[in-house]
Symmetry: C2
Subunit: 192 residues, 2 copies
């Protein structure tokens, strides 16, 4: 696995030494193992997570036990139950670890502190949010408008090299299709 | 219709007089009429829009002519083709005016300037983005996990008093259901 530093998280920023020290002390490095659960529903969500190496997944389980995958986060992605993280409510989602990972986590309080202490960090996150937002807008459109095959191809493009780590029913639950449809799509594509 | 000032857009901020003057000169007030189109696909997206009063809608039309509604924006909401607006690409969406509206628009360049000139504005938009993000996360989950009836009820809660202005097939295309399903859902609910 590939380690990274807090400096790598903020590639775009040129911190002074004292700023870097302030930023570094806000992050904690953790090493969740495949299958480990980082968040359960109904809990406060104090952290967001930066994936240095590995893969985390947020998902929702309905009353009748059906599972829906909201997001996979691979290297260089951020992940959390953002509704709860940003609004201070309780989680709706599970977050689990898809493969052994190296993760940096930071709390909401420490982020707010950072915005004041190192204002470049606020710009950094504003820009990150804009990009997330654009990718969520694409996701919503994709859920509404694309065929199963188009959704699958879009996933492969957005998440290269992650498919082999993901269970078929997790991927299907992300795409909003059945595992049978996913198999059919793969067979059709193999013929092309 | 209810007019508003630039100050109303930034309710949470206490600007000094000179700051307010800087902010005000970046916004332009426009009065689009019902049916007017503010954005076509394949264009640069220089503006985002704040709905002072009225309703705007972003939608996508597929190759086979099917229409998908991404967002309705009612009073106090922001709207744009955010993927293009934030990334500088070309639009995928139409934006049209659902009912006569009073809108403030601001360009991307002016926003970037504002962030430098009045840093509170950057915090304001970072927090707005967080809330948008939370609402988009809910929308994705809703598209994946809710029944037609649950989606419809969620819409009514999120957009009170707007249903009467929206065409049935626009609402259905927002909910990702057919107009027949929408009628069925309304009938079922009327019986309850």
């Amino acid at each position: 696995m590939q380690k990274c530093t807090v400096k790598d998280i903020f590639k775009e920023i040129n911190f002074s030494e004292s700023e870097l020290a302030i930023v570094e002390e806000k992050f904690e490095e953790i090493y969740p193992k495949k299958g480990e659960i980082l968040l359960l529903p109904g809990q406060p969500v104090p952290y967001q997570y930066f994936v240095c190496d590995g893969c985390l997944r947020t998902y929702f389980i309905s009353e009748i036990g059906k599972e829906y995958t909201m997001q996979f986060a691979v290297n260089d992605w951020w992940i959390s139950d953002y509704t709860a993280f940003f609004t201070g409510g309780l989680s709706m989602f599970y977050i689990d670890c898809v493969k052994d990972s190296i993760i940096y986590k930071i709390s909401k309080e420490d982020m707010e502190l950072l915005y004041k202490q190192v204002p470049q960090v606020e710009s950094f996150f504003r820009i990150k949010m804009e990009r997330f937002f654009a990718s969520f807008q694409k996701r919503i459109l994709s859920d509404l408008a694309l065929t199963a095959e188009e959704k699958y191809l879009r996933f492969l493009k957005a998440y290269p090299n992650i498919e082999q780590h993901i269970k078929n029913y997790h991927l299907a639950s992300y795409l909003g299709i059945t595992t049978e449809s996913l198999s059919r799509v793969r067979k059709e594509l193999a013929k092309k």
